[in-house]
C-alpha cells in the first residue's frame, strides 16, 4: 500500500474540503452546530485515502458524529458521508439502486491499488472540472422509491451507542455514563459492514426494506359503493386546501375538500366513485406534500345529520367500530371529544357539509380563530352563509369591534370595516365569546399576518399582546 506521509498534499492528491456532504438526519435538529475540521485526519473507510474529517454533535441528546468516508467516495454513490444513505431519499445504496435500476458498481474497482487509482483519477477529473456523468441527477424518481423514501429526518440514529459495560453488568460510571444503558437489539440487522453497505451488496437492512416494499398493501376500495371520500392524515399547518386540490384533481372531479386542522386531517370527496378509486390507487403510499408524507385511507360512510349530540356520537362510534376504516388514533380522539360538555349552540350551526368523523365542535371552545372553524377552512357553501352572515353582520360586527378593542386588536383602528366583517360574521351567530384571551390574540395575529393586510399599526400592539401570556 502507498505510504501515508504528508509530503505534498496537492501532489499526492489527498482530499481537502470545506464542508461535509451530509444528510439532514446526520446534521441534527439544532440550527446551531459547532463543527471541527481536521485536514487529512483519517482514512476513508472505503478507499483508504486521507481526507478532511468533520466532527460535530447533531443535537443535544446525540453523540458526536464524524465523516467516515471521503467526499470522492460519497459523490460517486451520492450518499451521506456519515451514514452512507442516499442524500435525496435516505435509503441504503442497495435499495436505491434496485428501485431506480441504476448499476454503478461496474466501473468502481473494489480492491487495493486499483481502487485508490480510480478514486484519485475521479477526484482529479472533478477538480479539473471535467464533467463526468453523474447518473444520479438524471434518474427520475419512480413510484417505488417514492413509497420507500424517508420524508422526515430520523434522529434516533444519532443516539449514543449502547454501553458495553452495562451489557455485562459492569458499568461503574453510573449516572454520568454517556452511553445508553439499554440492552442491544440483536438480530440479522446488526451484522452490517460498511463496505457492503457502500457497494450495495449483501446489505441486510436493504434486503428487509425491499421485501417490505414488495408486500406493501394497496388501498382496498371499501364495499360500500356510496363512499367517494378519501381520508388524508398527517396534515400540517403549512398544507392548504389548494395543495390538496392540486394533488387530487388529476384523478377525478373533486366535489369538496374539507380540512380539519384540529385533527391534522382532511377529507377529499369526489363526484364519482371511480375518481375516488383512481386517486386511492395512484396515491396510496406515495402522497407527499411539502415534504410531509400523508396517510391515505377511505373515508367512513356518511353519518346522517341528527339533532342531539348523544345519538350522533353513538352512531358515529358504532359506525367507526363497524367499518374500522379509521386509524385507531383518530377513533380514540373522537371518543375523547364527545365526552366534553355538549355544545349548547350546536343547534344554531347547520353544518352544510356532513363531517365524516368529526363531531360538532365543542361549543365551550367556541372557535375564536378561523382555523378552528371547519366552515372557514373547508368548502364554504355561499347560499347558507350569505343570508345568515349578513343578518348577523350588523349586530355581530359591532359587538366584535368592541370586544376586539377590549382585547387590543391593533388593526381595528384604521380600516376595520373592510377587513374584519368577513372573518367575524361567523362569530356573530355564536353568541357571546368566552373569556379566553391570550391564545386568541396570538393566533389571530398569526392568522392575519400571512394575509398581508396588516396596516401599519400592528407592531407596537403586537408586542404588547404577545407579552401578555
Amino acid at each position: 500500500m502507498a505510504h501515508r506521509l504528508l509530503r505534498d498534499a496537492e501532489a499526492d492528491g489527498w482530499e481537502r474540503s470545506d464542508f461535509p456532504i451530509i444528510c439532514e438526519s446526520c446534521l441534527g435538529d439544532n440550527p446551531y452546530v459547532r463543527m471541527t475540521k481536521a485536514d487529512y485526519d483519517k482514512e476513508c473507510k472505503i478507499c483508504t485515502r486521507p481526507f478532511t474529517v468533520f466532527r460535530w454533535r447533531p443535537g443535544r441528546d446525540a453523540r458526536y458524529k464524524k465523516s467516515e468516508i471521503c467526499q470522492t467516495c460519497s459523490k460517486l454513490k451520492n450518499v451521506c458521508q456519515v451514514c452512507l444513505l442516499d442524500l435525496e431519499y435516505g435509503l441504503p445504496v442497495q435499495v436505491r439502486d434496485t428501485a431506480l435500476s441504476i448499476d454503478s458498481n461496474d466501473a468502481i474497482p473494489k480492491s487495493d491499488v486499483n481502487r485508490e487509482y480510480f478514486a484519485e483519477e475521479h477526484d482529479r477529473k472533478t477538480r479539473a472540472g471535467i464533467d463526468y456523468e453523474s447518473s444520479f441527477g438524471k434518474a427520475r424518481p419512480n413510484d417505488t422509491i417514492l413509497k420507500l423514501q424517508r420524508t422526515t429526518p430520523y434522529y434516533k440514529r444519532n443516539r449514543a451507542h449502547v454501553c458495553s459495560f452495562y451489557v455485562r453488568g459492569q458499568c461503574t460510571r453510573g449516572p454520568e455514563c454517556p452511553y445508553r444503558h439499554e440492552m442491544p437489539v440483536e438480530g440479522e440487522l446488526s451484522q452490517q459492514n460498511i463496505k457492503d453497505r457502500y457497494y450495495g451488496v449483501n446489505d441486510p437492512v436493504a434486503m428487509k426494506l425491499l421485501s417490505k416494499a414488495g408486500e406493501m398493501p394497496s388501498l382496498e376500495p371499501p364495499d360500500d359503493e356510496s363512499i367517494r371520500t378519501l381520508y388524508v392524515g398527517g396534515l400540517d399547518a403549512r398544507i392548504t386546501e389548494q395543495d390538496l386540490r392540486d394533488n387530487f384533481y388529476a384523478h377525478g372531479e373533486i366535489e369538496s375538500v374539507k380540512m380539519v386542522l384540529q385533527r391534522a386531517c382532511a377529507f377529499v370527496t369526489y363526484t364519482t366513485r371511480e375518481g375516488a378509486e383512481k386517486a386511492a390507487e395512484e396515491l396510496a403510499n406515495k402522497l407527499v406534500i411539502k415534504g410531509l408524507r400523508m396517510k391515505l385511507l377511505w373515508g367512513r360512510p356518511q353519518a346522517p345529520k341528527l339533532d342531539s349530540e348523544g345519538s350522533d356520537e353513538a352512531k358515529q362510534q358504532a359506525a367507526v367500530t363497524h367499518s374500522g376504516l379509521l386509524p385507531r388514533a383518530v377513533i380514540s380522539q373522537q371518543q375523547n371529544q364527545p365526552l366534553q360538555a355538549p355544545p349548547p349552540g350546536s343547534q344554531t350551526q347547520p353544518p352544510p357539509v356532513p363531517y365524516f368523523n368529526i363531531p360538532p365542535l365543542p361549543q365551550h371552545e367556541r372557535a375564536y380563530y378561523p382555523s378552528m372553524d371547519p366552515q372557514r377552512m373547508g368548502a364554504l357553501i355561499p347560499s347558507q352563509d350569505g343570508p345568515s352572515g349578513s343578518n348577523e353582520n350588523r349586530g355581530g360586527s359591532e359587538q366584535q369591534h368592541q370586544q376586539a378593542q377590549q382585547y387590543g386588536y391593533p388593526s381595528m383602528a384604521p380600516p376595520p370595516g373592510q377587513f374584519y366583517p368577513p372573518y367575524y360574521q361567523q362569530y356573530g351567530y355564536r353568541g357571546p365569546p368566552p373569556p379566553v384571551l391570550p391564545p386568541n390574540q396570538q393566533h389571530h395575529q398569526q392568522y392575519q399576518g400571512p394575509q398581508g393586510r396588516m396596516p401599519a399599526g400592528p407592531p407596537p400592539p403586537a408586542t404588547g399582546t404577545s407579552q401578555q401570556p
Partner: protein, 145 residues
C-alpha cells in the same frame, strides 16, 4: 574535590504545627502515584493525583489567606518547597475561580472551540447534572455551587 556549596533549607518557625498534615498528604499522593490502573479508565487513573494536589494547595491557602494562622515566611517556604501549587492559588484569589479544580479545566487553549471544561459550568446552567470532568474528575467547580 571542588568545594560544593549545598543549599541547606532554613525552616521557618511554625513548621512543626503543619508538618504532620503535610506529610500525610504527601503519603497519600505517593500511594495514588503507585496505584495499579486496573479497572480504571486511562484518564480516571490520573484523577486522584489532581485531587490530592488540589487538597494540599487548599490546605496551605486556607491557612494563610483564610485562617491567617501561618506567617508569610512559612507560606512562601511551603510554596517554594512544592507543598502547594503557586499558580493554582493565584487563581483562587480571583473572583469566580474560588473553587477551581485544576489549571487545565479553565484553559481555553486546551479545549475544542476555545471553551472551558464542563466542570466550570454552574449546575443550574448545565443539562447533564452529574458529570466527571475528563481532566481531573471534578464534579463541578463553579463558584456558585
Amino acid at each position: 574535590m571542588p568545594k560544593v556549596k549545598t543549599n541547606r533549607v532554613k525552616i521557618p518557625e511554625g513548621w512543626e504545627l503543619i508538618e504532620p498534615i503535610l506529610s500525610e498528604l504527601q503519603a497519600t499522593m505517593r500511594e495514588a502515584e503507585n496505584d495499579p490502573h486496573d479497572g480504571k479508565r486511562k484518564c480516571e487513573a490520573l484523577w486522584p493525583i489532581f485531587k490530592i494536589a488540589h487538597q494540599k494547595s487548599r490546605y496551605i491557602f486556607d491557612l494563610y489567606h483564610r485562617r491567617k494562622e501561618i506567617s508569610k515566611e512559612l507560606y512562601e517556604f511551603c510554596l517554594d518547597q512544592g507543598y502547594a501549587d503557586r499558580n493554582l492559588i493565584a487563581k483562587w484569589k480571583k473572583p469566580g475561580y474560588e473553587r477551581l479544580c485544576c489549571l487545565r479545566c479553565m484553559q481555553p487553549r486546551d479545549h475544542n472551540f476555545q471553551t472551558t471544561c464542563v466542570c466550570r459550568v454552574p449546575k443550574h446552567l448545565r443539562e447533564e447534572k452529574v458529570i466527571e470532568c475528563v481532566h481531573c474528575g471534578c464534579n463541578g467547580c463553579a463558584s456558585g455551587d
